[in-house]
Amino acid sequence: MIKRANTGHTAGSLSSVDILNVLYNRIMGVTPANFDAVARDHYIQSKGHSVEALYTVLADAGFYSAAELDTFSSGGSHWVGHPTRKVPGVEHNTGALGHGLSVAVGLALGMKKDGLPHRVFTLLGDGELAEGSNWEASMTAAHYKLDNLTVIVDRNDLQITGLTEEVMALEPLVDKFRAFGYAVREVNGNDIPELVEALEGVPFVPGKPSLLLAHTVKGRGVSFIENVASWHHHVPSDEEFRLALSELDQAEAALNGAHR
């Protein structure tokens, strides 16, 4: 998608695709058939720039044909560089950072008012935690005891300029989230069984919003992209593209081998 369009957010999509995979294929019961209903689980992607991961998972979930992905970022396509509701399966338009959490809080609050048992999941980047609106929304989530809300932070330690801790230090992040009223768990966000186990356990504490700090590797799966800040929205060259696919093919083959 990114290679064809010659634009996109490569590394952040790779860090978060495992989380999305688990949410859509194991945790949430969101399907094209029930999408128009309020009474179902919901997902708001606050880190809108990792849209390639979302588009891929939604295609896989049957919201549209994978062929649509070939139109990514081309003139007239709804599959633009940040999610919009014009794309089937997308719940809210994001892209400006620090917006998704307030919307997720509103959704969770509305569903709680109606006594619905469904949950709201939202994915935040770590860099966007510098936006103050996240902390406004966090206060509200705790105040209204929104235990139907799970906030997942893609903690890949990098943002476009460099390490989050050098750009604007976030740590001690767990303490901050606890102080704001979340029940916090940490996982390896690129480990599928760990993600499944943690997300099957929400709410972590009844009466509290859940926060899953998912430690991930930005650019996960491709050796020369992993942990390199400049890959934030770098597009691979032909040679890099070939190498990346070959590494991912090898990883897939290894996984298939392990399951035999």
Partner: protein, 316 residues
């Protein structure tokens, strides 16, 4: 003309009546239930008021999320903060995402008077006009307030309604017709047209009274919807009149006057024309009334502007 109550009081009563009939109606406030005249609402329907604290960005995002959950949401905050602090949330989470939130800007314009420019909203028409997918409304009296809120309830797209604090005269018959985007002609006359919005409409009517004493007959239009503008009503007025004056409690840049100028010039309709509002300067300090007087937003000031324009028209 009978003096009614402040449009804000009318808002508090109307939204309570709407919410009593429909439990999906919610109001969301940012420590603003007192100034929003929602204290009785909070007591009567505590489950239908959502407090978010002093956090206007969060207010608008939460309003979008509640709307996504099927609620009919009035997001209530001082207009100055709602349309500046939360502008990106209005743009992205409400308008771009198309959640039909009802954005209620309270104590709008210079209603807060001597509290100073932090509390004035003289930019809201301009910024919201430049954002796609929001209807912008400034009711002139209690009737227009009630009608705008009722129309907004099930409207399928976002609406911004700005309300003031000062008691307003009733300008309409109770059976008047109100529709977003349809101006209301309050008085007709062939000489000068005043196109006014919000709390300045009464001042234009009073100016028309003064001018009538001098034999100058005016058309007065309540352009309650600043966007989408009733272009047909504007063009008809400009063609029928010798001069046209726009009046608003807003910067002279980018608001009602600017919207009218865009339409008139592009339609090739040329009429002596003046935009009356707050000029682009450090706003003088004082009450709403003192600020209005300082900038000629008074019956006398508007009448004087009209006479000056008629002199220009006579030379032409």
């Amino acid at each position: 003309m009978k003096l009614g109550r402040a449009n804000l009081d009318e808002f508090g009563a109307t939204v309570l009546a709407l919410a009593e009939k429909d439990r999906d109606v919610l109001v969301v406030t940012s420590d603003s239930r007192g100034s929003g005249k929602l204290t009785p609402f909070g007591k009567a329907l505590p489950d239908q008021i959502v407090e978010v604290g002093i956090a206007e960005q969060n207010l608008v995002g939460i309003a979008a999320g509640l709307t996504a959950a099927g609620k009919k949401v009035f997001a209530v905050s001082p207009a100055c903060f709602l349309t500046a602090r939360s502008l990106e949330q209005i743009k992205n989470d409400v308008c771009y995402s198309n959640w039909p939130v009802k954005l209620i800007g309270i104590s709008a314009g210079v209603s807060y008077g001597a509290l100073g420019s932090t509390h004035h909203s003289l930019h809201d028409f301009a910024v919201l006009r430049a954002i796609h997918n929001v209807t912008v409304v400034a009711p002139a009296d209690n009737f227009e307030t009630r009608a705008a809120l009722t129309s907004a309830l099930d409207y399928p797209a976002p609406v911004y309604i700005r309300l003031g604090k000062r008691p307003m005269y009733d300008l309409h018959e109770p059976d008047a017709h109100f529709e977003f985007g349809k101006a209301i002609v309050l008085r007709d006359g062939p000489d000068v047209t005043f196109v006014a919005t919000g709390e300045t409409v009464i001042l234009a009517l009073q100016a028309a009274d003064k001018l009538a004493e001098e034999g100058i007959r005016c058309r007065v239009i309540s352009m309650h919807t600043v966007k989408p503008l009733d272009e047909a009503a504007l063009l008809a007025a400009a063609r029928d009149s010798k001069a046209l004056v726009t009046v608003e409690e807003h910067s002279v840049m980018g608001g009602l006057g600017g919207a009218c100028a865009e339409v008139l010039l592009q339609a090739g309709v040329h009429v002596p024309f003046r935009i009356i509002g707050i000029p682009d300067e450090y706003t003088m300090t004082g009450s709403q009334e003192e600020i209005f007087r300082h900038y000629g937003i008074t019956p006398e000031g508007l009448a004087q502007t009209a006479v000056g324009l008629l002199a220009v028209a006579a030379v032409d």
